[in-house]
Amino acid sequence: MKRYAFCLSEKMSAENTLKEFAEFSKRLGWDGLVVLGDGSEDFPETAGIDIISGVLLKPSNDSELRKSLSKIRKSAEIVAAMCGFRCLDDRVDIVVPENPTQTDIREMKKKGMLFAADFREVLLSSGLKRVSALKGMSDIAKVCLKEKAAVIPISPAVSLRDMRGPSILSAFACVLGSDKGKVNASFEALDERAAHNRERLSRKFVMKGVRKI
C-alpha cells in the first residue's frame, strides 16, 4: 500500500521545486506525491518516490464539471473536485464536499468516489473558523462512516512548511470520527485508483483485466 502526499504545482517556484517537495515527502514518511496542476505533465520518479499528476477542480455546477472532465480525464491520473453540489460523475476520483446531505454521500459512494477531509483548512484557520471547519468535517465523516464510505485525509501543500506526515493526517481522520483501519483502507483505495488510472492511460490498456501485449 502506497500513501500519497498532495501538493499544488502552481505554487512551485525556484524556492520550492518538485525535487524539494519529493525529498521532503520522503522525509516525512510518504511513499508518493500527487502534484495537483493541469494534469498534463508526466513526472519521473524523483528522490525515490512515485509522483502522480493530478488536477484539482472547483466547478460551480455539473455542466462545468463535465466539460472540464472530458478534456482532463485523458491525461490526469488523479482528479479531485471541490463541489458544492452532488457530483455523480464517476470520472472524479476524490471529492471534497461542501455541505452534502446523506443522500448525496450515498449516491457519490455508489460511484466509487473517495471523500477527502482537507487538513490544510484546519491548519490555516483559528478560533471560531477552525471550530466551524472541524464541525463540518466531523459531520461529513460521521455520515461517511455510517454509509461505509472512505474518508481520506489530504493536505494539498502550498509550501514545504505546510506538509505533514501520514501519522498526523491519520490522527486528524481519527479525531474526526474514523479509525486507523478505515484510514489505512482509504489510503489503499486511493493507491488502487491511481494504479487503475495509470494503467487506463497507458497505451496498452483495452479494458479492465485486458492489456495489449
Binding site: R27, L28, G29, F119, V122, L123, S126, R161, D162, M163, R164, G165, S167, I168, L169, S170, A171, F172, C174, V175
Partner: protein
Amino acid sequence: MKVMPSMREKRRYILFEVISDNPQYFSDVSREIKESCISLIGELGTAKANVKVMKTLFTGRFGAVRCSHKHLEEVKLAIGLVMILGDSRASFNVLAASGTIKALKRRLPNK
C-alpha cells in the same frame, strides 16, 4: 498528587522531530505544543490528556511528549497544527508513539 497504581492511567510517549531552519529551545517547543493542545482540545481536555513535554528526551531536533492513552490522537493532531516556533516558521513531524521510553528511544533515527 500520588494515585494508586491500579487507578493510574496508561501513558503514551510520542516521538516528534522539529523541522526548522534555526535551532530550537525546549521552552519554546514546550510552550507551543501546550498552547496548541489548549487551542484544539481546550483547557479541560489538555488537563485530562495530561500533556507533558519531556525535557530529558529533548535533543534540539527530536523530542517526546507524554500524554494519556485515551487522548493520543488528539495530542498528535495538536502537535501537527503548530506552525510557528519562537519567531520563525517551523513544523513538527510525529515519528512514533510508544508505551515506554525505552521502546521510543529505539525508534530514534540514527544520526
